[in-house]
């Protein structure tokens, strides 16, 4: 098994070579879109935020924008600010430049409007692209960070798709790779079991505190998370208790010890299994983990979902044969043979693992082919 990737100045390995345009505020998103449309291999973030946030939310927005720019799948970055946004565009730009990655920055108010910014941006990006290094280096699994996500779940997710992905997660951790899973709202009811898997008391405590914080914040908004799950639809599908629902969800993260608990979009340390605070909202959750440094996402679904990410391949896995037939435009791997008794979880897991290697080495996922570039930031406070 051979892995090849792009060596970045900070020593990390990318498995894609995207130029990324980061509008640091919503007002710059249109210019970013226009510049990106002129090139192949240039993507932009569909940023809807960046101004008038309260402190905690502003920290999240800054961490996401910085993290996406620093992600090793990104070869070069163009920041575009408006000039009066509250997020510190210049500071974000400087900190990414310090990593050694090629970056440029344009401020729309200084350039004199959208058209001048677009024209200058197009020229700047073309100059950056001319200097791009396309040489690949040998890499091993210890350089890979895999994010694990599930969305549009049904009965088949918990009994086959998630266990298959869990098998791959264990195999990756054992090979020295980094695996990160998230969705705080989805572990409620099984947090005591996850806490038992923490490598030490501090990690266990942090995990329980995170769940407590999430529940209290939902309660403040009038929602009792323990009181609404399992949903009537879950119960009709066969899920009996909150524990059962959460266990099915966390099965996708395998069985290895949890080395650390991270805040949303926090840089993910290297090696082992980590949990990141995020909502059950798939796009926001994937965005947080990719901003944390994940180069690839494995995403299980029962009902089927098309979402992707602009800078990381998102590999869709389903164990629902009819969903695969109906949505093969969007789904990469069908593991329904486990439910039919034609494959064991291990056999399907090995097949998914080989697909992961192919995709790391450049084969496109369905979400990449279709330019599914969803982007969303997990905010919890009012906008000012």
């Amino acid at each position: 098994m051979r892995l090849r990737g792009f060596l970045r100045p900070d020593g990390r390995i990318g498995f894609r070579n995207h130029f990324l345009i980061v509008p640091t505020v919503i007002c710059a998103t249109r210019a970013a879109e226009e510049i990106a449309s002129n090139f192949a291999n240039v993507v932009h973030l569909h940023n809807q935020h960046g101004c008038n946030h309260m402190k905690d939310d502003e920290r999240k927005v800054v961490n996401v924008l910085k993290g996406m720019a620093l992600n090793p799948n990104v070869v070069g970055v163009l920041f575009i600010g408006l000039g009066c946004e509250t997020v510190p565009t210049q500071k974000i730009f400087e900190s990414v430049r310090a990593s050694g990655k090629p970056v440029e920055c344009l401020i729309i108010q200084e350039e004199g409007g959208t058209l001048r910014t677009v024209e200058k941006g197009v020229r700047l990006l073309q100059q950056m692209m001319e200097k791009i290094d396309i040489n690949q280096v040998e890499a091993d699994l210890s350089t890979v960070t895999v994010a694990i996500e599930c969305g549009g779940s049904d009965t088949t997710s918990g009994i086959a798709a998630n266990p298959v992905v869990g098998y791959v997660a264990d195999k990756l951790v054992d090979a020295g790779a980094t695996v990160v899973f998230s969705e705080t709202t989805e572990i409620i009811g099984a947090e005591h079991l996850l806490a038992k898997r923490a490598v030490n008391d501090d990690v266990a405590k942090k995990l329980l505190e995170l769940v407590d914080r999430c529940e209290k914040s939902a309660l403040a908004g009038g929602e009792d998370i323990r009181g609404v799950n399992p949903t009537p639809g879950n119960i009709r599908g066969g899920l009996t208790t909150l524990e059962e629902k959460s266990l099915g969800a966390i099965y996708k993260a395998g069985t290895r010890p949890i080395k650390g608990v991270l805040e949303y979009a926090e840089p993910i340390p290297s090696g082992g299994l980590y949990f990141m605070d995020s909502p059950g909202h798939d796009v926001e959750s994937v965005t947080g983990m990719v901003a944390g440094g994940a180069q690839v996402v494995i995403f299980t679904t029962g009902r089927g979902t098309p979402t992707g990410c602009s800078i990381a391949p998102v590999i869709k896995v389903t164990a629902n044969a009819s969903t695969y037939r109906r949505m093969s435009d969007n789904i990469d791997v069908d593991v329904s043979d486990v439910l039919e008794g034609r494959s064991t979880i291990q056999q399907a897991g090995e097949r998914l693992f080989m697909k992961l290697i192919e995709i790391l080495n450049g084969k496109l996922t369905k979400s990449e082919m279709l330019k599914h570039h969803e982007f969303g930031i997990y905010l919890t406070q009012p906008t000012l």
């Binding site: 079991l193 009181g227 909150l242 524990e243 059962e244 266990l247 099915g248």
Partner: protein, 100 residues
């Protein structure tokens, strides 16, 4: 296609319930995959796709185990082959309260 006769899946040797992967009927002897092993269970009730039945007798007050972990407590004596769901199991970590 010889193996496609599997009717239900259990996850660990400790599990005392299995999940049906097709609609199953009362009186039917079903094949359950338990790791590398296949076992046979006679069903005492209908069990729909995605729902669970007992692999052994589970006395009232005992833990119901799926994925090798407790998913709740039996609220009555459950016999081997009986349907296991919200009517005879209650979770310990939270109970649905509203939006019914």
């Amino acid at each position: 296609m010889r193996c496609s006769k599997v009717d239900a899946i259990a996850f660990t040797k400790n599990d005392n319930v299995a999940t049906a992967i097709k609609n199953l009927s009362k009186g039917q002897t079903v094949i359950v995959i338990l790791g590398e092993e296949k076992i046979h269970i006679e069903l005492l009730e209908d069990v729909p796709f995605g729902h669970k039945f007992a692999l052994m007798d589970i006395p009232k007050g005992e833990q119901v185990i799926k994925y090798g972990e407790t998913i709740g407590i039996a609220t009555e004596n459950i016999k081997k082959g009986q349907y296991v769901h919200v009517h005879n199991v209650v979770g310990q970590r939270g109970v649905r309260r509203h939006r019914s």
